[in-house]
Subunit: 156 residues, 2 copies
């Protein structure tokens, strides 16, 4: 990712710890080496779907497996970043029904660090790589703050 203009520096896959964490999740699950020769930007490309294209994705039928894997890698990357920042183990639970509705939860001990209701999971995606990064960073920061504010509940 290079900056599109001189004003707002674009997010770089190489320097964003969150985007790197997603890349790690994808590569960790790449049992058959399918993505071995893909660069990081290419791996993250399916996360970027312009709003107009997202709206065109049908909500009929179950959420496809590739989309579910993307959602899981997104939340596991957040959990991995929170673990690094807090030193607390963080676990991901996804409960998404075939209609694409449900919950994403990241918890540590008895404390929920990230709590998101999920709607239209079929259409999971972000307008730009910057928005993907910003959403991840926002959830990480909130999670880290909660873990610090209620450390005793993490240890339960």
């Amino acid at each position: 990712m290079t900056a599109l203009n001189g004003v707002a520096p674009a997010v770089s896959t190489e320097t964003s710890p969150f985007l790197q964490a997603i890349v790690q999740q994808i590569r960790a699950n790449d049992t058959f080496g399918t993505y071995r020769n893909w660069n990081d930007d290419l791996l993250l490309k399916p996360y970027v779907i312009p709003k107009k294209e997202r709206r065109e994705i049908t909500l009929d039928g179950a959420v496809d497996i590739a989309t579910m894997s993307r959602i899981l890698a997104f939340y596991r990357a957040i959990a991995a970043r929170i673990e690094i920042e807090t030193g607390q183990l963080a676990q991901v639970v996804l409960d998404i029904n075939t209609e694409g509705f449900g919950w994403a939860i990241i918890f540590s001990g008895r404390l929920i660090l990230v709590l998101k209701t999920i709607r239209d999971a079929h259409r999971f995606g972000f307008d730009t790589i910057e928005k993907l990064n910003a959403e991840g960073e926002k959830l990480i920061q909130k999670g880290v703050e909660l873990a610090k504010a209620h450390a005793e509940v993490c240890d339960l």
Copy 2:
């Protein structure tokens, strides 16, 4: 349910608030009135599977829908009882993969009141109605204690 002997009084479906809560869950989901004429004991019968029979249930293939509904009704009944005891809203999240492994979580605000790892979901069941009741009551009691001890996290 009637007592089998004079020493250990058996649990009664009519007087156990937890068993009644399961019955309510089942009846609430009975859209087509299939169970309208079934008595409560009959509704709970599929929860009782002797250990030997449980072991004979195959772990091949996905967990069947009836079993998943039973697991969901079990945890929703616990959540309903905790809500009554604490006045806090409690939400159930089930994340069970096709191999029958996963998590059951009941939470309120940012606090996890019930946290269970699930193995061999295909074989979900209890030796006796008393054991079903005891397991539910144990989880309810622990959940209520946690909600009281960390009320501020429930309100987050």
